[in-house]
Amino acid sequence: MSESTPLLSVRHLSTFFELSGNVKAYALEDVSFDVYPYQTLGLVGESGCGKSTTLMSILRLLPPNAHISGQVLFKGVDLLALSEEEMRAYRWKEIALIFQSAMNALNPVMRVDEQILEAILLHRLLPREQAWQRVQELLDLVGIAPQRGRQYPFQFSGGMRQRAMIAMALACSPSLLFADEPTTALDVMIQAQVLELLKNIQKRLGLAIVLVTHDLGVVAELCDQVVVLYGGKVAEYGSVDAIYNSPQHPYTQKLLEAFPDLHRPTASLASIPGTPPRLTDLPSGCRFEPRCFARLERCRHEPPALREVGEKHYAACHLLEEKENLLE
């Protein structure tokens, strides 16, 4: 596959949750982006904006009250159109997943090495004997002494658990790795180590990664592309350079303002006044309107469409259209 063909193309992905009393929570609406081989895409936005839901929709791991529509083309195959049986063959073998909290993501009553082995045997990648060999190599790769694999998750530190989780994610040599805030639960020193590990592994194994994070410093350091989500919609999407050097959406601009120094990855995103929209009661116009410093009259009623503002750089804001009109 050439580097210019996307590995994963998400098109018009929309997900809503059916809540009790016929209420619907529109968690994602019309989300589109591409992930290219060997590249890292950052998925950023405030808590609750739909980052995890995006990953879970793609892997179809949401609970039964979730309704997903759109297209998820992975190597040209629409994952949303597969049967559950066919979908299982893609999970972990093609797309693996690391969660925020590896404490609970590993089975507490199963040895760590057995949990890694399970993935390899499940997808029939190697005979048992060689699979054990591979487990040892994987543990070694993430910096865990192989004999410690015989232990249970509770005997590991938080950082080690996340390493073990990474080893497990690599077990079937996937071409795409989803990392959902992989370092949020760890302390700062360990965060840096785990990120370093992810970076090295990506280089060595040539993985594509979708990295969900709060942390714009991490994005600047690790990612090639960025999707900024706001209230379940794409606010802005482009290369890291474009987003950092010429952010077009007021929300992105605020995010970056709240985060001036890219080499001090400790600031958080919480410093924009106001709260994200309620998904059960969305504003009819732009979702950012109640908090936007630059809002126009039409923003209240008319949702802005995503428009191209540069080469492979998109943003959804009425201001951009006004600007264009002025230039003409």
Partner: protein
């Protein structure tokens, strides 16, 4: 810290608890009203003061309660001598053991069946939550759990004996009493049907409810999502990842319930005139047979303590986290 150490501590604690129970048991029966000598002889028999006195000396009742009587009792109990039943005039230990097997047979059977069906039903209900199966199983279990033993027993007794011609009580038909057990197995089985069914229904509800909530909670854990993300199918997730975790609370309940085997037998054995410990205790109570009651109390307490220890041991085997904490 190793698991050996942990178990040793639990064992020591169990011994200590048994010791406390022994003391309470000893004290309790000293402060109960009634004169032991009178009780042994019978209320209306006239005997002289000298004979009474010699009997007191024979039983050691002329000595001070502490330490002499206490130490003597401890020594006797430790050697397995629980005294002589006033009403049956046989050693208490011997009586208890002879009835214990009957009770273990009945309660054991009821427990095994209710554990099997309760866990299975709870598993299915929790797995297929909010389906008709779940609602049905839940309703049934709640009713079964709330039903009084006596009531269900009598209903089943009436129904079973009237419509199916099943025996109304006892362990064996009169003509088979005293024959070697293996020659009368069909007769034994027929007698066991109704009490076992009653017990199974009664215990099943509790196991089902606990298993259901346990599996529902387990299925919501992150590692279940990991298992699904790995590509495991429903059955593999249930069998390899959910079951062992969900069984942990059940195992404890099972072990603890074993401790109440003896006391739980009282109602059911009374309803079905089943010749086990439960019926024996009822007799002991109504006849105010203190040595027998004392032995019964000791047996009840020790079985609860041992069951607690068993629960701890099982938990240690099943859950690697326990060993470390």
């Amino acid at each position: 810290m190793g698991s050996g150490n942990y178990l040793l501590r639990k064992f020591a604690f169990a011994l200590l608890t048994i010791f406390v129970v022994v003391i309470i048991n000893f004290v309790l029966f000293r402060i109960l009203p009634g004169d032991p000598v009178r009780a042994v002889i019978g209320r209306n028999v006239k005997i002289s003061a000298e004979v009474q006195q010699s009997l007191r000396e024979q039983f050691g009742l002329d000595k001070p309660v502490f330490p002499d009587q206490f130490l003597m009792t401890i020594r006797q109990w430790a050697s397995g001598n629980l005294g002589v039943s006033w009403s049956l005039r046989r050693p208490v230990a011997e009586i208890l053991i002879s009835k214990l097997w009957n009770t273990l047979l009945l309660i054991g059977l009821g427990q095994i069946l209710s554990i099997f069906f309760g866990v299975l039903l709870g598993l299915l209900a929790g797995w297929k939550r909010k389906t008709a199966l779940d609602a049905g199983a839940l309703t049934f279990s709640l009713i079964a759990w709330a039903t009084p033993t006596f009531w269900l027993g009598i209903i089943l007794l009436a129904a079973g004996s009237t419509w199916l011609g099943l025996p109304t009580g006892g362990i064996l038909s009169p003509q088979n009493v005293g024959k070697p057990l293996h020659t009368v197995l069909p007769d034994l089985a027929v007698h066991l049907i109704l009490p076992t069914l009653t017990l199974t229904i009664l215990y099943l509800g509790e196991y089902m409810l606990i298993m259901r909530s346990s599996i529902v909670e387990t299925l919501g854990e992150d590692y279940i999502l990991t298992a699904k993300a790995k590509g495991l199918n429903q059955w593999q997730i249930l069998w390899r990842h959910a079951l062992k975790n969900a069984m942990l609370p059940i195992v404890t309940i099972i072990a603890l319930n074993l401790g109440f085997t003896v006391s739980g037998a009282i109602y059911i054995e009374t309803v079905f005139s089943y010749d086990g410990l439960g019926k024996l205790f009822q007799t002991a109570l109504t006849k105010q047979d203190y040595p027998l009651l004392q032995g019964a109390f000791l047996l009840l307490a020790v079985s609860v303590i041992l069951a607690n220890m068993l629960a701890d041991i099982l938990y240690t085997i099943l859950d690697p986290r326990v060993k470390a904490s």
